[in-house]
């Protein structure tokens, strides 16, 4: 028995007349007209905007550049800002250890700091 002996016994149930298919296609397309119409209307609003979008983009970029270029620079201050205070002025006035550590010419050892703290009394 061949591979497909049944084939000749069957007939396609799909219509063969081209007119049937064109009629059915027309029916489907015509009934879809409201949806197609809504797409056309949406497109009519969007298309001009889309067509001019490169020009609109270019104009927006140019406007941004011009705006940045024409912003006046901040005016220079007439008086210079005061110098930062020295470190020893930031210390509490009655802190002899800190005064000695910060203001001393050489690093203090720990025993000297203890003497300064106690006012020289052991």
């Amino acid at each position: 028995m061949s591979d497909a002996p049944e084939r000749s016994q069957f007939e396609s149930r799909l219509p063969e007349h081209p007119a049937y298919w064109s009629d059915l296609a027309a029916r489907i397309t015509e009934s879809a007209e409201p949806v197609l119409q809504s797409y056309r209307e949406a497109d009519a609003w969007w298309n001009p905007l889309a067509r001019w979008s490169p020009a609109i983009g270019f104009a927006a970029a140019a406007a941004a550049i011009v705006a940045v270029a024409t912003i006046p620079a901040a005016p220079a201050s007439a008086t210079p800002p005061p110098p930062p205070p020295s470190l020893d002025r930031l210390l509490s006035p009655d802190d002899p250890v800190a005064q000695a550590v910060v203001g001393g010419e050489s690093a203090m050892n720990i025993s000297t700091m203890l003497l300064v703290e106690s006012g020289g009394h052991r």
Partner: protein, 186 residues
């Protein structure tokens, strides 16, 4: 512009802009396979036509969400199968068995005609007892003449699965024919 040679996705793009000609070409391109698939779910051709129309309308309404980088055909047939399945669930009288509308043609030779009628009835009987997917694959490929790969896409199956279904369907039908021949010779 002749739209017949335009790709599906270009037609989709134009249909999305409301071009009825583009949508019409898209419909014409897939109408025959769509009706063949729909008829596997619907009991009559009229019902199948309604399913196809519904599927095309749903596809049209879904175009704004369609990924233009993907092929149209599998997307459309997925919609069609969903529409058909939902309709089949709604109509309990629908079965996944479609019976030919036409009876065997009358023949000049009554004996031949009777034999052919018997043969057809036997094959139809075999078709009717096939599992639905075997019957569908056999019918679409071997009766309606669609390519196996195309049918796989229409049904959302792998090509190898379609081949397997066809092979099993043929084996069942061969047995049915053998039985008929044996009965005739006996």
């Amino acid at each position: 512009m002749n739209l017949d040679s335009v790709t599906d996705n270009e037609l989709v793009s134009q249909a999305r802009q409301g071009n009825p000609e583009a949508f019409g070409v898209l419909v014409s391109r897939y109408l025959r396979p769509a009706l063949a698939v729909a008829w596997e779910y619907a009991p009559t051709r009229d019902d199948a036509e309604d399913l196809v129309q519904d599927a095309f309308h749903r596809a049209l309404r879904g175009l704004p969400n369609f990924d233009a980088g993907r092929p149209f055909r599998p997307w459309f047939f997925t919609i069609l199968r969903n529409v058909a399945r939902n309709a089949a669930e709604r109509h309990s009288r629908w079965r996944m068995v479609a019976v030919p509308d036409e009876l065997p043609a009358a023949d000049d030779d009554p004996e031949d005609a009777a034999h052919r009628a018997g043969l057809r009835a036997s094959i139809q009987e075999g078709l009717d007892v096939l599992p639905p997917m075997q019957r569908t694959c056999f019918r679409l490929c071997d009766i309606e003449g669609f390519d196996g790969t195309e049918v796989a896409e229409m049904l959302g199956l792998k090509a190898a699965t379609v081949r397997t279904h066809r092979h099993r369907a043929r084996a069942t039908l061969r047995d049915a024919l053998r039985r008929l021949n044996d009965e005739k010779e006996a």
